[in-house]
Amino acid sequence: MAYLERSSPTLKETLLKIYRAEKPIEIDQHFYEFGSIQYHIKCSVLDTNIVYVSTSTLLETQGIVTSKEILSATYEVIKNIAVGVIDIVDPPRLGFQLTLKLHLDNIPRGKAAEAIKIITRISEIQAIILSSQLKKMLKRLNFQDDSQAINNNNRPIRIVYHPSEPFYVFRQAEKITAVFPMNFKDNSDVVIAMSFFQELVEVGSQKEMGKAPQCSWSPVPPFQLRGEPVHDLTTNAGFVSFDITSRHVEGKRLDKTVWNLLNFYAYVKYHIKCSRGYIQRRMRKRMDSLVKRLNNTRFEEEAPQKENGACKYVKELVKVPKGKLMMQQRCKDMTRRVKISKFRIRINGCARFRFNQRWISIPKFSSKSSNKSYTKLD
């Protein structure tokens, strides 16, 4: 898994369901994603070609300019996703930041692939809203002179897209630094995350990764974050920093950079969850092998072999089908062994030389190769 998907899977599935429905359906659904993103979909039976999609998210940036609203440029980007299909409703539905009116009849009917593509792009509205703000910020910081940065006292911008997961962005000489304070509830998560951060720093310092942003970890916050709220800077897994250069902010790379930064927390949590699942699977497998080994210590397997107490070597039981003839053969073998054990004069190792068939008979060994293995009793 390289990165998380931009499109909301539930929104996409619901829109496809409405688009493909043969009969008109009534939908009035509310759902949440990642805890802070809220969606509402409404579709009426009276007019199935119109679907209202409302969305809301935690959009908070504090720094040079405090912003809690969607940028106007973002509205243009959203309208251009599918011209003629999307209309922005003003004012938005109560409790939401954005309401879209979708005209599903304007989506070409004959071309399924194109319809899926348009619906997938519509499902990415949250990614577009979250990315646009950070993109503008990074562009502005990138084109800012060092003198301007000094005038602004290099104040960090605090971005909160998920409650209790803020991160900071500030400008330094020739680079922009994004700092992520890492907090985890469980102690074992902290340990797995720390080993991941160690690997991240080591991999980032390799020559092959020279084009990727420089990554660093520290247990204390950088001095640029002095003055920020204490509860944001109190962590149990340190601070991860990415140094973003102008190279990562130019052209098409800006989109990837922004998306990777937005999803860093989710990425780390997903890795921890998968690691825990893997550990659980390994433990379960090991436990099963240990239980099997313990069950092999039981005496029950060798219970039938106790009948030949006089013999040092016990023949391994051969799996024979349950038939009358085979049962008779086994009885004959048993009788012969009893006769041998009752012989008066017994010389060890000379059983094969006794020719008196009235008293003894030499047991016939089966030609099957499986009969030739013996287990020795201790």
Binding site: A2, V191, E199, E202, P213
Partner: protein
């Protein structure tokens, strides 16, 4: 090779001690009529208890073998080099202890100061072969190897994930 020898000596010492200690017989409780309890857990009658044996490989790895007339308790302490090994050991041994009924000879809660404990009674010795039971205990002590493998796997996975994440920027 040099590191394997101390381990072999340690395991050989434990094996020999277990062979001597695992001579258990049925012994009803002296205090409560018609009760049969593992004396090593109760420790009410000193005449039924043998001297406990502590075998130390180093400060962090040791094995305590406590014997009585009808039961035997083996407690193990596993070495934990760092935080990751610490949590992996705790998780793994706790996972096994919570499923003690599947193992029968495993104690649900380890003795204080140790990571995992076994309780073997005379009934277990009657149902299971002594040598194979000792082999099982010795093999169990190779849990350290399993934990080391887990640690390497977690680190390897972390490295692959980190590589994939950073590749997205390129």
């Amino acid at each position: 090779m040099f590191q394997a020898n101390p381990l072999r000596l340690y395991l050989a010492c434990i094996r020999n001690t277990l062979e001597a200690a695992m001579c258990l017989q049925n012994f009803p409780c002296q205090e409560v009529e018609r009760h049969n309890k593992p004396e090593v857990e109760l420790k009410t009658s000193p005449e039924l208890l043998l001297n406990p044996v502590l075998i130390c490989r180093n400060e962090a790895e040791k094995c305590l073998i406590e014997t009585s007339i009808n039961s035997l308790r083996i407690s193990l302490k596993v070495k934990q080099a760092d935080e990751l090994e610490n949590i992996l050991t705790k998780k793994f041994l706790r996972f096994l202890s919570m499923r003690a009924e599947a193992f029968q000879v495993l104690r649900r809660k380890p003795v204080q100061g140790y990571d995992i404990s076994f309780l073997i009674t005379n009934y277990h010795c009657e149902e299971m072969q002594k040598q194979k039971l000792i082999d099982f205990i010795i093999q169990f002590m190779e849990a350290k190897k399993e934990i080391s493998e887990l640690k390497i796997s977690v680190n390897t996975r972390g490295r692959l994930v980190a590589t994939e994440f950073l590749k997205q920027f390129m």
